[in-house]
Symmetry: C2
Subunit: 335 residues, 2 copies
C-alpha cells in the first residue's frame, strides 16, 4: 500500500534557533512548508527579526523547497505595524500566547481586552490569529477553561480567522462546530496518547507537552475528527525539540519531538482507520483552502514499509529524542 | 512555638532493602514506629521472610527504639497460614495490591473474588487489611473507580478492619464516612500538592507518585480532614525512596521521599491551620486507638525554627532526593 501526498504542510512547528535549528530544520524537509512559531528568546515580535529568522531557517533547511509561513509573537499592534507585517514577504499571522503559559511565553498577553483593537484591525486586514488557548487553571482544565475566550473572540470578530492551536479536547471540537471562523490544528501525539501514557505508568518526559495529553474520550474524539476528514482540522505537529538533558531531568521542559516521523505515523494511523483518502486534506488541503496557501510543490510517497525511529537525532552538539525513539513505525517515506 | 509528640507513627512506609535500607531506615528514626510495606523483590509473602526483613530493618535502624509493624504481601491464604502469620512477633496485617498497580506489585491480586475466603478468615481473626486501592483505569480516575471495591468489602466484611492506603480524593473521604470499618492513611504530599505541581509547569519527577496527585478540591478536602482531626485518618508517609538516577530519567519510578522532613512539615501545616492540638491524633493517637497499638515510648519536640532540607541524602552508594530538596521548612525537630 502507498499514498502520494501533494505538498504536505505542518501548520505548527517549532524550529528554535542556532545549533538546534541546524539539527532540526532538515528533519522537517519532507514537508513542503510549515507555520513557524515565534517563541524564541527573545520572541520574534517585529518583521525585521522575522525576516532574519526566516533566512536562518532557509540556510538550515538546505536545498529542499520549503515554504516558510512565518508568525509574529502577538502583542498590541498599531495599524502601521500590522500593515508593515502584512507586507513583509513570508508573513502568515500572529501567534497569541497568554502570558507565561508555555515555553518562552512570558511576554505574552496578560489582558485580552487590551488586545481587541488590534484584533479588530487584523479582522479587517485578513490577518490570521493563532492562539495557544489555555487558562492558568488546573492543568487538565486549562483548554476547557479557555474555550469561553475563543467563543467570545469568534463572536466579537466574525471575519477574523481564528486558529485554535494544538487542541486536545472533545470540547474544543464541539466549539469549532459552532463558529465558521474557528479552525484548529492538532498534533500527532494528541491523536495517540492520553495522560496515562505520560504519567499512568512510569513517568515519560518525552511525552510531556503543553497542553498536556488529556482523557481517552478526548483523544478518541480528536482521532475521529482527523480520520473522518473534518474540513477545519489541520495537522500541526507542535514538534518541539528540547535538548535531551533538559527532558530527562528534574524540571523537564514541555514538548514532544515528532517532525521526522510525523508523516509515516499519520499514514499508519489513517491506513489503520481505512481513511488514507482523508490524509491529503488533513496534512495540506484543509490548510490551503482555509488560508489560501500555495506551498512549494512537493510529492511525498508513503508506503507500508517499516521505519526504524532512531533513539535520538544528534549533530551540531545537540541531541534530541523523538517520539517512538528506538521503536518501529509500520509506514515510512519512500525515497 | 513548640509541640511535643508522643510516639509518632508512620502508618505506611517503604524502607526497601540492602544499601537503600541502610540509607533510609535511620532517616525514619524520629518516628516511634512504622507500618512497613512488603513490596520488596520478591515480595514478603511468608512470616519467615518477614521476620528476617524485620531483623535487617532493626540492624539498619541502629539504637533508636522503633516498633516495626510488619506486613505481608497479600495472596490467598489458608487458615493455617493466617494463624502462623498472626502468631509471628511483629506481624501487623496484610497489604493487598491489585496486580501490577505500583512498584513491585506484579504478583498482586488479579481477581478479588478469589480472595474473599481469606478475607472472611482475616475478619474473624482480627487481622487488618491494608489496600492500595486503584483500578487499572485512567490515571486520574483510578482511586475513584476503586471505591466500589472498598464499599463492597466494607459491606461484605463488617468486622474486617480495612485501611484505604494513601487516599488522594475527596470521594474516598466521603466513603469513609459511610462505613465504621473503613479507615485511611494519607501522605504528606497529598495534603500539599496537586497534579499541577507534578505536571502543570515543568515536569517534576520527584513529586511523581502512585496514586498520582489529584485536583485542588481533593487536596483541600484531605488537608481539611487531617487538620480538623478526623478520627479515622492516619498519617502514612508512603515515603518511597528511589535512586536519584531512576527519578531523573526517562521512565521515572513513582514515589516521593518524605521520611526525614515529614514531622517538621506536618507541624508547619498544622500550625498554619491553628490545629497543632490535632497533630498528636493524626500522627499517632488515631492509629493507636484503631489498631490497639503500644509503640516504643518516644517524645519528639518540634519547634518553629527552620529546617534546611538537604539537596539529597547519600551513603552506602545510594542517593535519594527528598521532597523540598534544597528548600527550607519553617519547623524542625528540637534535638
Amino acid at each position: 500500500m502507498e499514498i502520494t501526498l501533494e505538498s504536505p504542510l505542518d501548520m505548527h512547528l517549532h524550529l528554535r534557533d542556532g545549533d538546534m535549528l541546524k539539527l532540526v530544520a532538515p528533519l522537517s524537509a519532507d514537508f513542503a512548508g510549515a507555520v513557524i512559531m515565534p517563541n524564541l528568546v527573545p520572541p520574534v515580535t517585529d518583521p525585521g527579526a522575522m525576516v532574519a529568522y526566516g533566512e536562518r531557517i532557509a540556510t538550515a533547511m538546505g536545498d529542499s523547497p520549503f515554504t516558510r509561513y512565518m508568525t509574529l509573537f502577538f502583542t498590541k499592534q498599531s495599524e502601521q505595524q500590522l500593515t508593515l507585517a502584512k507586507e513583509t514577504p513570508g508573513f502568515f499571522g500572529y501567534k497569541l500566547y497568554p502570558a507565561g503559559i508555555t515555553t518562552n511565553s512570558e511576554g505574552g498577553v496578560a489582558n485580552l481586552a487590551e488586545a481587541e483593537s488590534t484584533l479588530k484591525m487584523m479582522e479587517e486586514m485578513g490577518i490570521p490569529l493563532l492562539i495557544h488557548g489555555e487558562s492558568h487553571g488546573f492543568v487538565m482544565d486549562r483548554e476547557a477553561e479557555f474555550l469561553g475566550v475563543y467563543k467570545h473572540l469568534a463572536q466579537q470578530f466574525p471575519k477574523l480567522k481564528i486558529c485554535m492551536e494544538h487542541i486536545t479536547t472533545a470540547a474544543a471540537l464541539d466549539l469549532m462546530e459552532e463558529f465558521e471562523n474557528l479552525c484548529a490544528t492538532v498534533t500527532l501525539q494528541h491523536l495517540i496518547i492520553t495522560l496515562d501514557d505520560v504519567a499512568g505508568g512510569a513517568l515519560q518526559p518525552h511525552l510531556f507537552c503543553k497542553p498536556i495529553a488529556k482523557r481517552p474520550h478526548d483523544r478518541d474524539a480528536l482521532l475521529q475528527a482527523a480520520v473522518s476528514g473534518h474540513p477545519r482540522l489541520m495537522f500541526g505537529s507542535d514538534s518541539a525539540p528540547h535538548p535531551r538533558c533538559k527532558k530527562e531531568a528534574c524540571g523537564c521542559a514541555a514538548g514532544v519531538f515528532t517532525a521526522p516521523l510525523a508523516l509515516p505515523k499519520l499514514a499508519e494511523i489513517f491506513a489503520r482507520h481505512h481513511a488514507l483518502d482523508n490524509l491529503q486534506g488533513f496534512v495540506s488541503g484543509n490548510a490551503c483552502r482555509i488560508h489560501g496557501l500555495t506551498p512549494a510543490a512537493k510529492h511525498v510517497t508513503l508506503h507500508d514499509t517499516p521505519m526504524n525511529v532512531p533513539t535520538s537525532y544528534r549533530s551540531y552538539g545537540q541531541q534530541v529524542v523523538p517520539m517512538y525513539a528506538g521503536e518501529q513505525i509500520s509506514w515510512s517515506i519512500k525515497h
